[in-house]
C-alpha cells in the first residue's frame, strides 16, 4: 500500500505531461461535440444556434458523405492490406543473410521517411505525369503510354503512393517479428525434414500473426487520417472520387466554413475510429511487452 504523500511524490513527475495532454487533446474534442449540435457558419456571423441533431441528419442524408466514407474504407483498408502483404514478402527476403542487407534495408525504409507532401508531389508529377512521367515511360513498351493515372484512376493513384510509403513500415514491423522467432524451433523442424513451405505455414505464420494484426491495426489508425497525399495529389477529385473523410471535413470547414456540419462529421469519424482503436488497444495490451512491469 502506497501512502498519500508517497502517492503524490510518485505522481508529481507525471502530472505536467498528463495535464498538458488533457488540455491539448481533450478540450478540442469536447468542443467538437458541442459544435456538432450547433448550426454555425463562419461566413454568417451571429448565425450560431442550437439545432439538436440536425447536423447529423444532414451528414447521413448527404450522398457525397456516403461516397466519401466508402472511399475512406477502401483507401485505408486497401492500402494497409497491400502494404502488409508486400511488407511480409520483403521481410522474408530481408530475414536472410546476403551482401549489403543493411544497405537494402536503408533503401527500403526511405519512402516511409520522405515528407508525405513531398512524396505526393513526386508521385503526381515525376512519376505519374501522362506524357513525361516515369511510370508511363517504363510501361510504354507494353503499350500503356499516355495513361492519365491521376484523373482516370484517382483513388488507385493515391493508394499507390500510400502503399509505397507504408510498405517499409510493415516490413520493419514484420522483420522484427521474424527475428523474434526462436531459431531452435525452426532448426528442429528442418531436421525433422519439414519443407520450407510447411515451416512457414505452420510455424512462422502463426508466430507472425500478432505482428500482422498489429500492423493492420496501426496502419489503419495512421492511414485513416491521410490528408497530405489526397490534398497534394488529387484534391479529392474529380468530384469526390478520391476524397476521404479528413479531406472532406477540411473542405466543409475551411472552404465551406460550415462549422456545425464539419464538427458532426468529425464526431462520426471519431466513432468509427474508436471501434478500430478498441481492437488496437486490446492488441497492444494483450500479448506485448506492455504488461511487464505494471
Amino acid at each position: 500500500m502506497i501512502d498519500r504523500a508517497e502517492g503524490w511524490r510518485r505522481r508529481a513527475p507525471l502530472l505536467p505531461a498528463l495535464v498538458f495532454t488533457i488540455i491539448v487533446t481533450q478540450i478540442p474534442f469536447l468542443l467538437t461535440l458541442f459544435y456538432s449540435v450547433q448550426s454555425w457558419n463562419l461566413v454568417r456571423p451571429g448565425s450560431q444556434s442550437f439545432v439538436w441533431f440536425a447536423n447529423y441528419v444532414d451528414v447521413f442524408t448527404d450522398s457525397q458523405f456516403r461516397q466519401v466514407a466508402i472511399n475512406t474504407i477502401v483507401m485505408t483498408l486497401g492500402s494497409v492490406l497491400i502494404a502488409v502483404v508486400l511488407g511480409l514478402l520483403l521481410a522474408l527476403l530481408l530475414n536472410r543473410q546476403f551482401v549489403g542487407r543493411g544497405v537494402v534495408r536503408t533503401l527500403l525504409i526511405t519512402p516511409f521517411l520522405i515528407t508525405p507532401v513531398a512524396a505526393a508531389l513526386l508521385w503526381r508529377t515525376v512519376l505519374l505525369d501522362p506524357t513525361l512521367g516515369l511510370v508511363n515511360f517504363v510501361l510504354s513498351p507494353f503499350g500503356a503510354s499516355g495513361t492519365e493515372w491521376i484523373s482516370q484512376f484517382p483513388l488507385a493513384s493515391v493508394m499507390a503512393a500510400l502503399v509505397w510509403q507504408w510498405t517499409p513500415f510493415m516490413m520493419l514491423l514484420l522483420l522484427a517479428g521474424l527475428q523474434s522467432q526462436p531459431s531452435d524451433q525452426l532448426e528442429a523442424a528442418r531436421v525433422d525434414g519439414a519443407s520450407a513451405w510447411s515451416v512457414f505455414r505452420e510455424l512462422t505464420l502463426p508466430h507472425l500473426r500478432r505482428f500482422i494484426e498489429l500492423g493492420v491495426v496501426l496502419g489503419t489508425i495512421y492511414l485513416v487520417n491521410t490528408f497530405d497525399t489526397v490534398y497534394m495529389m488529387t484534391q479529392g477529385g474529380p468530384g469526390v472520387a478520391s476524397a476521404n473523410l479528413p479531406f472532406y471535413i477540411y473542405q466543409r470547414a475551411f472552404l465551406g466554413f460550415d462549422i456545425g456540419q464539419s464538427a458532426a462529421m468529425g464526431v462520426v469519424v471519431v466513432i468509427i475510429t474508436l471501434i478500430a482503436a478498441s481492437f488496437a488497444l486490446r492488441l497492444l495490451f494483450r500479448s506485448f511487452s506492455v504488461e511487464e512491469g505494471i
Binding site: T110, R124, N225, L281
Partner: protein, 295 residues
C-alpha cells in the same frame, strides 16, 4: 565478384543434384538469389527518391524530356531558385517548430515515462491507456475547434501554435516509447543503489540515464520526423508568417508542369533532414511507431 560466380555454380549443382549437395551450401546459394531479388526490390523502392534528387540537379530543359535523361550537366540553379522563391523562412519555421516541440516533449515526457515505469503511480494502466487513446482520435475531428479557438485568441499563423500542437501530438508516443526503455533498466541495479542509500536523483543520473540515453535519442529523432513531416495543422493554421516547409511545397501544385526541377529541389530540401534522422533511428523506428510494443 568471385563470391557471385562461386555461389552461382553452387546453384547449378543444386538444381542438377540436389540430394548430394550439403545443406549449408545449398542455403547460401539460395541466399544469393534472394539477395539479388532484395537488391532489385530495394532499388525499385528507392528509385523515385533517387530520381527526385537527380532531377533537382537538372535544368528545367533536362527535366522535361519524354525519354528520361540520366546523363546531364548538373547544376545548382534549382536550389538557388528555391531559395530565391523564399523557402528560407519556411525552413526556419520548420526547424523552430520541430526542435522546440521535441525539447518540450522530452521535458514533459521523460519524467512521465519514469512515473509510469520504474516508480509507477497507481492506475498506471489507466494513464497509459489514456495517452495511447489520444493518438487514436483522428486529428481531423479536432481541427474545427482548434481553428476557432486559435483564431479567437489571435494565434493564427503563429509558430507557437504549431509548437504546442506538435508537442501534444508527439508526447503520447514519446511517453510510451521511453517507458519501454525505462523498463529495460535491470531492477537489480536500482535495488542495489537504494540499499547503498544513494538518493534517487543520483541513481537516476548515474545509473538510469546512461542506460536509457540511446532510447531517449531515438525517441527524439522520431518526434523530429513526425513534427517535420506534419502538414494538416500547418496548412490550416499557418500562412506566410509561420508556414513550415510542407506549406511551402503546396505552392508547387499550382505551378506544376512548369518547374519540375525546382520542385524536386524543394522536395529534396524538405525531405532531407527527416530521411537522415530516420536512417539514424531506423533500429528504433518500429518501437516508436508501435508505441513500444515491438522491439
Amino acid at each position: 565478384m568471385a563470391v557471385t560466380t562461386d555461389t552461382a555454380s553452387d546453384e547449378r549443382t543444386t538444381a542438377t543434384d540436389e540430394a548430394q549437395v550439403p545443406r549449408k551450401q545449398r542455403t547460401s546459394g539460395a541466399n544469393v538469389w534472394f539477395g539479388v531479388i532484395a537488391w532489385i526490390v530495394g532499388i525499385a523502392f528507392f528509385f523515385p527518391v533517387f530520381w527526385m534528387v537527380l532531377t533537382s540537379f537538372k535544368t528545367e530543359a533536362d527535366a522535361y524530356t519524354t525519354t528520361p535523361k540520366i546523363i546531364f550537366e548538373p547544376t545548382l540553379e534549382q536550389y538557388e531558385g528555391v531559395f530565391a522563391a523564399g523557402i528560407g523562412p519556411y525552413l526556419a519555421n520548420s526547424v523552430a517548430a520541430t526542435v522546440i516541440s521535441t525539447i518540450l516533449v522530452l521535458l514533459l515526457g521523460v519524467p512521465a515515462a519514469f512515473a509510469l515505469s520504474l516508480r509507477p503511480v497507481q492506475k498506471t494502466t489507466d494513464v497509459l491507456f489514456f495517452f495511447i487513446s489520444t493518438k487514436m482520435l483522428p486529428v481531423v475531428a479536432a481541427i474545427v475547434p482548434i481553428y476557432v479557438v486559435v483564431n479567437q485568441i489571435g494565434m493564427l499563423d503563429n509558430i507557437w501554435t504549431l509548437i504546442i500542437l506538435y508537442t501534444g501530438m508527439n508526447l503520447p508516443i514519446a511517453v510510451w516509447m521511453m517507458r519501454s526503455f525505462f523498463l529495460e533498466v535491470p531492477g537489480e541495479l536500482l535495488e542495489q543503489a537504494s540499499i547503498d542509500g544513494a538518493p534517487l536523483w543520483r541513481t537516476l543520473r548515474e545509473i538510469v540515464l546512461p542506460i536509457i540515453s540511446p532510447g531517449i535519442f531515438a525517441t527524439a529523432l522520431i518526434c523530429v520526423i513526425f513534427a517535420w513531416n506534419e502538414f494538416f495543422f500547418a496548412v490550416n493554421l499557418t500562412a506566410a508568417n509561420a508556414g513550415t516547409v510542407p506549406v511551402f511545397l503546396v505552392g508547387f501544385i499550382t505551378s506544376e508542369g512548369l518547374y519540375w526541377a525546382q520542385l524536386s529541389a524543394a522536395a529534396t530540401l524538405a525531405a532531407l533532414p527527416v530521411v537522415l534522422a530516420g536512417w539514424v533511428a531506423q533500429n528504433k523506428l518500429v518501437q516508436g511507431l508501435s508505441f513500444g510494443a515491438v522491439k
